[in-house]
Symmetry: C2
Subunit: 208 residues, 2 copies
Amino acid sequence: MSGALPPLRRGRRSGGSDSRELILATARRLFAEHGFDGTSLRQVAREAEVDPAMVHHFFKGKDELFAQSIELPADPDEVLAGVEELDPGQRAEAIVRAVLRLWESPAQHGLVAFVRGTIGSKAKTALLREMVARTILSRITAGLPGSPEEAKMRGNLVATQVVGLMLMRYVVRLEPLASASQDEVVRLVAPNVQHYLTGELAHPTDSQ
Amino acid sequence: MSGALPPLRRGRRSGGSDSRELILATARRLFAEHGFDGTSLRQVAREAEVDPAMVHHFFKGKDELFAQSIELPADPDEVLAGVEELDPGQRAEAIVRAVLRLWESPAQHGLVAFVRGTIGSKAKTALLREMVARTILSRITAGLPGSPEEAKMRGNLVATQVVGLMLMRYVVRLEPLASASQDEVVRLVAPNVQHYLTGELAHPTDSQ
DNA sequence: TAACTTATTCATCAGGTGATGAATAAAAGG
DNA sequence: CCTTTTATTCATCACCTGATGAATAAGTTA
């Protein structure tokens, strides 16, 4: 039990270090696991073995850290590239494939974080709604036959199916769905998505 | 500017009061809007115009308050009553109707809170998974033809569609879906749910 | 009326939170 | 070499969190 502690390690560490990346990686993981509110800067710093003040040195604050952690998971332009040009009759499979590919890419952590953080608060949910409506649905429903109102509803229905699929497979991890192969998932759900896109939307019942 | 402040109001208020219910109602609303972590006891107390300590007087702590706030939204037995006895070929409409009815009942606040609180954390998501698998899916897939594995997958697929629908309609509030009538929603999505229950699940493609 | 129970508030605790500014050490640039 | 920039840590701040125990007032019961 010596009294002399090792000399203070204040100041720059010798030898290059990538603390910034380390912090980001840790933040990504923790945000994905516990959401925005459930993750503290100090927790990130602790697990990255770094002083809490470093987080403020590299990022302006918690918000910026979060923003950079989820590094918007690739813009929809890229993910849905080519979908618009496809014949509506074949669009469903392309959409489902694109979504599965995205969620099984390195972006997965960030996406889970995004979903958790976004559904947890009313304000953020509103942001999500705007974003989904403008960037994603418009692309999916481009060039559908029928009235614009009908196209919007078709887009909404596609969203219910696709979002439900992502949530159950990647967030809730329901089995056996979570372990099924991409091809199998496409086979199973693409037909229903296609039905929402171009199928006959049930006739208003005559009764009522 | 009299020096004499109004006498301290410590002690029981005269006239009956229903602070307990007031706290519960406020908690329900706030949990639904901001989730579990995003809601503090003091915030609940403030908006209920009550001292924070009252919350501890009536409930053991934040966890118990949360638990009582979401007052498990009616057990699945009740909500899905009768679904098991229905012919699988007609089950879809009953399921969708039951879900819509539930979400447009007074339980809605609690349900939104439950979803927000539950998706926000990994641990709670695991609880949700167990609960959904045991209590809901088993009921929905009872008596389906085919292997047990196939029935489980069919149940999973139904879950993707139903959960996606609830999320988009009641949590994200995507339009025009959120404003559609119950009957219209049933007409639009029940056929796809029925397909998951009893339809032909696409043949393994010969290629691959 | 006296004793007891319940409702209500106050004062306070220990601990976690995000944030800031200064001190120190290494690296980079001149 | 000296200067500037960058990385790192420390010591704090003010604030909010959930929680507890005691003080007080009203209702309830004996």
